[in-house]
C-alpha cells in the first residue's frame, strides 16, 4: 500500500474506532451527569447490544432492523436495572452504585455466556455491505463506511436531542442544578431516569455498530469499558465536547499505535491518559466536573 492509501486507511479506521468509543463514553457520561452513577456495567450493556443485534439478524431480520431494535432491548434492560437496583441507592453515596454496578457487570457477563455461549459470533451483513469500494487509491470495506455513517447519524441525533428538545434542555439543566429544575415544576426524577435509559441505549447502539467490526463475544465489553473511561478522563467527566475530542484523539492514537507498534497500542493510550490526568485534570478542554 502506498503512503496515501495507508494514510486514508488509518484516518477512516481512527474515525470508526473513535466513533464507537464516543457513543459508549457519551452514554457513560450522560448516566453519570444526571444520576451521579458511575455505571461499571456499561461495557456489559454494550455487549448485550451486540448480542441482541446478532440474534435479531440470526432469526432473519436485516442488519438495519437490528440497528433499530437492539438499542430498544438494551434500553428496556436499562430501565429494569434503574427501577430495581439504582432507585433504592439514590439517596446514598456514589460508592454504593459503583460497587453495585461492578457486581452487575459480572452477573450480566455470566448471563451472556449462559444464553449465548463463549464462542465468538459474527453478525451476518447484507450482501452490499460485504463488498469493498474504491476511494481513490484505497479499496475500503463498505460495511466500515456504513458504520461510520451510522455513527455520524447517532451523534447528530444525540446533538439534536440534547440541543433542541425539551428533554435535552431539562437534561442539561438537571446535570448542574437538579433542585432548581424541580423548583421550575419539572419532575426531575423522570429526567434522571430518561437519562439512565438513554445512556444504556447508547451503549447498546454502539454494541450493534461495533459487532461487525470487532466480532461479538461475551467479554467484548471489558476492553470497551476501560477505553471509554480513558475517553471520559481525557475529555473531562460531564463534558460532551470534551468527549468528542477525546474519543477522536484516542481513536487516532490507538489506530496509529496499532499500525506502528502493535503490542504497545494500549500502552500509548494509557500514557496519553496519564499525561492528561497530570497536566489537565479537568479534561482536555478543562470542562470536567469531578465530585
Amino acid at each position: 500500500m502506498g503512503f496515501i492509501a495507508t494514510t486514508v486507511d488509518i484516518i477512516l479506521n481512527s474515525l470508526v474506532l473513535g466513533g464507537v468509543l464516543l457513543i459508549v463514553s457519551v452514554g457513560l457520561n450522560i448516566i453519570y451527569g444526571l444520576n451521579r452513577v458511575m455505571n461499571l456495567a456499561h461495557g456489559s450493556l454494550y455487549a448485550l447490544g451486540a448480542f441482541a443485534g446478532y440474534t435479531i439478524v440470526a432469526v432473519g431480520a436485516n442488519y438495519f432492523i437490528a440497528l433499530l431494535l437492539a438499542p430498544i432491548v438494551v434500553g428496556v434492560v436499562g430501565l429494569v436495572i434503574e427501577r430495581i437496583l439504582i432507585r433504592p441507592m439514590r439517596q446514598r453515596h456514589m460508592i454504593y452504585t459503583l460497587i453495585l454496578t461492578y457486581g452487575l457487570m459480572f452477573v450480566m457477563d455470566g448471563l451472556l455466556k449462559y444464553f449465548w455461549g463463549v464462542e465468538t459470533r459474527f453478525i451476518h451483513l447484507p450482501e452490499f455491505m460485504r463488498q469493498t469500494v474504491s476511494l481513490g487509491p484505497v479499496s475500503y470495506p463498505v460495511f466500515r463506511l456504513v458504520i461510520l455513517i451510522g455513527i455520524a447519524a447517532v451523534v447528530a441525533a444525540l446533538m439534536l436531542l440534547l440541543g433542541r428538545t425539551r428533554l435535552g434542555i431539562n437534561m442539561r439543566a438537571a446535570s448542574d442544578i437538579p433542585e432548581m429544575v424541580s423548583s421550575c415544576g419539572i419532575n426531575v426524577r423522570g429526567v434522571q431516569i430518561s437519562a439512565f435509559v438513554l445512556g444504556c441505549m447508547l451503549a447498546g447502539t454502539a454494541g450493534v455498530l461495533a459487532g461487525p467490526l470487532f466480532t461479538v463475544f461475551p467479554d467484548m465489553g471489558h476492553e470497551m469499558l476501560i477505553s471509554s473511561f480513558v475517553v471520559v478522563v481525557i475529555g473531562g467527566l460531564g463534558s460532551l465536547r470534551g468527549a468528542i475530542v477525546a474519543a477522536l484523539l484516542v481513536g487516532f492514537v490507538q489506530t496509529l499505535a496499532e499500525f506502528f507498534i502493535t503490542d504497545l497500542a494500549m500502552v500509548m493510550v494509557y500514557m496519553l491518559m496519564a499525561l492528561i490526568l497530570v497536566f489537565k485534570p479537568l479534561g482536555i478542554l478543562g470542562e470536567g466536573k469531578f465530585e
Binding site: 442539561r172 432548581m180 423548583s183
Partner: protein, 234 residues
Amino acid sequence: MIKLENIDTYYGSSHVIQDLSLEVEAGAAVSILGRNGVGKTTTLRSIMGLTPPKDGRVLIGDEEVAGWAPHKIARLGVAYVPAERHIFPALSVEENLKLAEANAEREGAWTLERVYEYFPVLGERRRSGGTKLSGGEQQMLAIGRALMGNPSIMLLDEPSQGLSPILVAKVAQIVSELCKEYGITLLLVEQNFRIALAMAERHYLMGTKSKIQGEVSSQEIIDDQELIKRTLAI
C-alpha cells in the same frame, strides 16, 4: 395564600427551624427579616419542598403540601428565586426561561416576549449562556424564569445578595410592581431592612432557631428606627 403551622425542619442533623408558624394572605407582600443563619432560606425551602419539614403543616391555598415533591408544589403556582439565582450554566438565557415555561400547567399569559418586554436586556442577550450575564442580569433572569411558570406565589430569597444598591433598588421596584399588577403573593427573605421596606408591607422579625421575635408593619419600622436593631441586632 401561604400558611405554616408549627413546622420543624432539619438540615442534615441540625434542627434549623423549630416550631415556626406564619401566614401570608393572598396578594400580600410579606418579608422575613433576620440575620444570617437564622433559618430564613430554610423557611423558603420548606415551603418549596426542597427541605421538607419533619413536622407541622404547610398550606398553599387549600392544599396541604408538606412532603410533596418540589415540582408538584411548583405546579400549584409557587415560584422560587434562590439567593444564588441558580441560573443553569449549560443553557442559554432563552432556554433558562423556556425550561420553566413548559411545565406550567396553569392557564396564564407569561410568554418569552412578555418577559423580554419587562427585561429588555434578556431579549438582547437571549442567545448568551445564562451564567455569562452580569449579577444584576442574572437576578432578572431568575425572576423572569419564575414568571414563566405563571406563579400566584413568589418566594424571593435575598435579592440584594451580590448586587449594587442601585441595581437592588431597580430589581425591588420591578418585582413589587409585577406582584401588585398580577396579584402575585410575595414572600421575601432579607437581611437588609431597607429592601424589605421597599418591597413588603408586613414583616416577620426572625431570631435564632427561626424564632419569630415580632411582626411589624413597614410604618412601625419607619416610625421606630431602632426597632430592627433592638430585636434582631442587625
